[in-house]
């Protein structure tokens, strides 16, 4: 039995997709708030001209969190001509006229978005607000009481970023299979992060950072029959991430991490991140690389799975030994065999 079968089981256990029932319930909540946002913004004189889902759900790289929490990123877009110069104003409208009225005690205006938590349903919604001028988007940056120097409409390209992550034009042959493998790799790396870092540090290893690194370093792997080999692909991708230049060595074996957005505003995703975050990220990624190599070198299927469970946590399956010998490496054939007709007497 190939190790890919176990990766597939692991992937099924951690993936969150638009089709999942849990996500559908979350979307119903989100849709009802979005309708109220539309009404409130219309009343305030800057009607919503479009809204869309951004973030990992829209790029097929979302995972189920171990805590069971759901995140939704709902972009709200208003027309540039109607948008107030003070970009925090629509954020206050959303917070006070929609979320607080609906009873969200903890609605918060953060620098890049407004956040709302459905505590009872483990649902967390982020609302980034954009103004749109032609095809150009600008994101409302600034906290509630930010003065003029700390708030701005900053150029952004949310749809461009989404397209960049989902782009498969550079993949030669079976591009869709390669993109699917990339999506799986991102999910594995996100679960690895949630498993291996303390909650505080994990929150600073931003998912979009992992996604951009994996996209730039992605090294697909398929066998001669065209079947995916996620273990090899992940190992070579992680190795490339380590030497790509994201980690800058500092004094005392410490590292600073920096990954730039591949689209506007081209900022460093890890801007302001500490050397502690960078050092932990780099060192744990290096440990991951070693463990993946160990798993590749290990010939016993059960031992292989044990190494991978250590890396990814309990959702990675470890088969039990049995006398029909699931532990023996089995031959893989290119065809099922021909039955035809048969007779006997």
């Amino acid at each position: 039995m190939s190790i890919q079968k176990h990766f597939n089981t692991f992937h099924d256990a951690i993936k969150l997709s638009k089709q999942d029932d849990a996500y559908k319930t979350a979307r119903e909540r989100d849709d009802s708030i979005t309708n109220e946002v539309r009404n409130a913004f219309k009343d305030a004189g800057y009607p919503v001209i479009e809204d869309f889902i951004q973030g990992s759900i829209s790029t097929d790289t979302a995972i189920l969190k171990k805590s069971g929490d759901f995140d939704i990123d709902r972009a709200i877009v208003i027309d540039c001509d109607n948008a107030p110069d003070n970009c925090v104003k629509p954020k206050i409208t959303l917070c006070e006229n929609v979320l607080e009225k609906r009873g969200f005690q903890n609605a918060k205006i953060k620098k890049p978005c407004v956040t709302a938590d459905y505590k009872n349903e483990n649902l967390h919604i982020d609302f980034p607000i954009y103004r749109k001028n032609g095809a150009e988007y600008e994101l409302a940056i600034g906290k509630r009481n930010a003065d003029e120097s700390n708030r701005k409409w900053e150029e952004a390209d949310p749809r461009g970023l989404k397209d960049w992550i989902k782009d498969k034009s550079s993949y030669i042959g079976s591009a869709s299979d390669k993109l699917s493998q990339f999506n799986r790799l991102v999910r594995y790396l996100k679960r690895w992060r949630d498993e291996k870092f303390s909650e505080g540090v994990a929150a600073k290893i931003h998912s979009i950072g992992i996604t951009v690194m994996a996209k730039q370093c992605f090294s697909p792997s398929f066998d001669s029959d065209g079947k995916p080999d996620d273990l090899i692909a992940l190992k070579t991708t992680v190795s490339a991430m380590l030497i790509h230049g994201y980690f800058t060595a500092k004094a005392n074996c410490q590292y600073q991490v920096s990954v730039f957005l591949p689209k506007k505003p081209w900022r460093d995703i890890f801007d302001g991140s500490s050397v502690n975050t960078g050092t932990q990220f780099r060192n744990k990624l290096s440990t991951l690389e070693g463990k993946l190599q160990d798993a590749i070198s290990e010939t016993d299927e059960i031992e292989k799975c044990k190494i991978l469970r250590e890396v990814f946590g309990d959702d990675f399956p470890v088969p039990e030994k049995s006398n029909n010998s699931a532990s023996t490496r089995k031959a893989i054939f290119s065809s099922s065999g021909a039955v035809g007709t048969s007779q006997g007497a």
Binding site: K227, I332, T341, G344
Partner: protein, 157 residues
């Protein structure tokens, strides 16, 4: 017959038959005087170095097959479908491993028609090790083709 796995060996090859397959064979024995022959295909896998084989599942007669007390004709496409499904679901490790059928005799021996058919099965699957099982009313016999013709595997006690 049927309580636990059975292992059959010959030279460098062993065939491990699951207890589920053994139970099906036990239930399909031609014990009554009017029982027709029962038959099907064997689906299983093998180790990378091709010294150990496992019978994972077997098919039983489908509507378009035919049989009498002393003969059978396996022709329903569902046998091939079952093989193809196992192949896909296993990721390419589970394949067609041969055929089985019953004989209304205590210790079964293959007829000339059986052997001709087995040669035809081997011809359709070049390079593959195939196993042919005959289920008697008392014993099960497993045959493979060797340079001496068809030879039975010895059951490990």
């Amino acid at each position: 017959m049927g309580d636990e796995n059975a292992i059959f060996k010959n030279g460098g090859i062993s065939l491990n038959i699951s207890k589920d397959a053994l139970a099906v064979w036990k239930n399909h024995r031609q014990i009554n005087a009017r029982d027709h022959e029962k038959f099907g295909v064997i689906i299983g896998s093998c180790s990378e170095i091709k010294d150990e084989y496992w019978v994972e599942s077997i098919t039983t007669p489908f509507p378009n097959d035919r049989s009498t007390r002393y003969s059978f004709l396996l022709r329903d496409r569902n046998h091939q479908k079952a093989v193809d499904l196992a192949f896909v679901e296993s990721g390419g490790t589970s394949i067609y491993l041969g055929t089985w059928h019953t004989h209304p005799e205590l210790i079964p021996t293959p007829s000339l028609i059986d052997k001709m058919d087995w040669l035809s099965c081997i011809g359709k699957n070049p390079g593959r090790q195939l196993f042919f099982v005959i289920v008697g009313t008392k014993e099960i016999r497993v045959f493979v083709r060797t340079s001496f013709g068809f030879t039975k595997l010895i059951m490990e006690s």
